[in-house]
Symmetry: C2
Subunit: 353 residues, 2 copies
């Protein structure tokens, strides 16, 4: 720990060369940043605060934490179909740890640059570690109507989708981050390579920014999955005044696929009561439906736009898996692989207590 003032700290780690971006008229260094909004757009704004122990583990590398702090905010823009423009960063630090700051800034700016999202201001202060980012994005207005994807647009008959991706390291989808967390907690044991892959999904999630934008004009509603698929989908249903019937196994299919290959080398090492059913279809279903922290998009679209949804996903380098349909009847009905209704309390299950 060195003594470094707030201004030195900002100058060294967070002030970057002028980029002469057209929309950012003035960046870091004055009382406010100044942004020139693109004519004919609405501004999408979201703030997220990350606290150690709740949103990240103390073991996370600062590079991944810098990435994640921005990623969870970009994910909110993605869920609205907004194009990232700029962000502010407020940072409370218990001490000035230069190695930590350098790593944090590296992860932060790598993602910011990849998404064309510029750091325009913020605040640093001493205090318990806390990271608060506010992102600003833009959505076009067409014929006087903003094109943002809202939670309230799902209509009966619409398909329900969840995003994912095929990568060189395996198939990504909902449940990945929760499985990594369970491994951290000692509740499950995973082969090293498998664990590292899932850990990356938890510590450095990929916000589906391109997918969100590609879904404008196609999806009827969208949300990002931070708290768990069923819980977050519940917000869409509530805002839309609708219900849904879900084929849960479709959401966990990618987990089955990867675990079937790995099962032989997997050993449960935790409390005996947790071992029962571990990696069973039901366990993986729970992970996919209630896990959260993956920052996939859950969205709905009219059945007539199925091919458009797949084209948008392909264009964004993502997958879109249909997991059910919106109903007029309120509530969430969950079907098993055989099409039988699972008992209702399953859908409210949430904390794996």
């Amino acid at each position: 720990m060195k003594t470094m003032g707030e201004f030195d700290l900002i100058a060294r780690y967070f002030k970057r060369p002028e980029r002469h971006a057209q929309r950012v008229a003035l960046g870091i260094g004055d009382d406010c940043a100044l942004l020139a909004p693109t004519p004919g757009t609405q501004l999408a704004i979201s703030s997220d605060m990350l606290v150690e122990g709740r949103h990240f583990l103390s073991t996370v590398s600062p590079v991944r934490l810098g990435h994640k702090a921005l990623a969870v905010n970009l994910s909110d823009l993605a869920a609205c179909g907004a194009k990232p423009v700029a962000f502010t960063l407020a940072l409370a630090l218990p001490s000035v740890d230069e190695a930590w700051l350098a790593g944090f800034a590296q992860g932060l700016f790598a993602l910011a640059d990849a998404q064309g999202c510029e750091l325009i201001g913020g605040d640093t202060t001493r205090g318990p570690l806390n990271i608060c980012i506010t992102v600003l994005g833009e959505v076009p207005v067409v014929n006087g109507k903003g094109q943002a994807l809202l939670r309230s647009g799902a209509r009966p008959g619409d398909d329900v989708y969840v995003s994912g991706a095929h990568t060189a390291h395996g198939t990504e989808g909902v449940g990945d981050a929760r499985l990594a967390l369970e491994a951290f907690r000692g509740n499950i044991s995973l082969p090293q390579a498998h664990f590292e892959r899932l850990r990356l999904r938890m510590e450095a999630p990929t916000p589906r920014v391109a997918l969100g934008q590609a879904l404008r004009g196609i999806a009827s509603a969208a949300i990002d999955v931070s708290d768990g698929l069923l819980g977050d989908l519940g917000h869409v249903l509530k805002a839309s005044g609708a219900g849904a019937t879900l084929h849960g196994h479709a959401a966990s299919a990618h987990l089955h696929e990867s675990f079937t290959n790995a099962t032989n080398s997997i050993a449960a090492n935790a409390q005996p009561e947790r071992i029962t059913g571990l990696f069973s279809p039901k366990y993986l279903l729970q992970m996919a439906l209630a896990g959260g922290d993956d920052y996939e998009l859950a969205f709905t679209a009219p059945a007539s736009l199925r091919s458009a949804v797949q084209a948008a996903a392909a264009q964004a380098g993502c997958t879109a898996t249909c997991i059910g349909q919106i109903d007029a009847e309120p509530g969430l009905r969950l079907l098993d692989a055989q099409g039988q209704l699972l008992k209702p309390d399953f859908t409210s299950f949430d904390h794996f207590a």
Copy 2:
């Protein structure tokens, strides 16, 4: 402490009836808020994070804290001459204390409503108390040129001003908040009424929002005084590539005035070495020049616009006290009441160690 979820907490304390404001197309309750910027304006954005013990004392009432958390952000908009539009609030709370939340929301919304600034989103989480607000304001663009007041516009010959106000309870200006802090620390003792007035200045400062807007087109540079007049003015000088000569006593005159009346009833009750010179002109000068946390505006304007400055201040219900001039020569020269140069180290004095 009760168990209340994040969504209940937001709904109960921070979600308000729809106000159908034209600029806020969508407020709290989706992944992002949506804002329709006024055509022909630039957006001014600032974030401030408040941590207990650094930015407020644990003894502060939640009503005043709610006010202050927004006030320090509005003060940044004021320093840019921006009109407040909207803000996001991210709040980390050690527990859900409903009385605290109700008070905090009361203070926050009273100021927000008075300034026409709408809460459009944010985040709540459990963690060490931390308040992070991001404000959004607008400044007009005239003939392609944004009208924001920047730190970089001070020119040699410009007058240097600091804001204040005459109120029913006395004259407000820089140094008030620091005097209250010194009283809290037990370094000075003040008559109760005097202390309560200064305490209000520290705990619930008035952002000079109307003054900032009135100074557009008049002031050449501006900043808000959060860290101390000399330090903050130093940022203006650095950004403008200039220096200044200041008549420091002009900045502390309002303190002299009020303390001359009160001196007889004032007793110093702290360490002997602090008593020497207490409430002396030099002590009050230190308070005014280095105190901070008052959120007055320090600004510069061409000498030809003196009457325009006073008219703007009067229009905003504020005072504007000329405390010196901008020089081409870098550095800050401080004169005493007799026009003699004070020793240079005085100007770098900062923490009253």
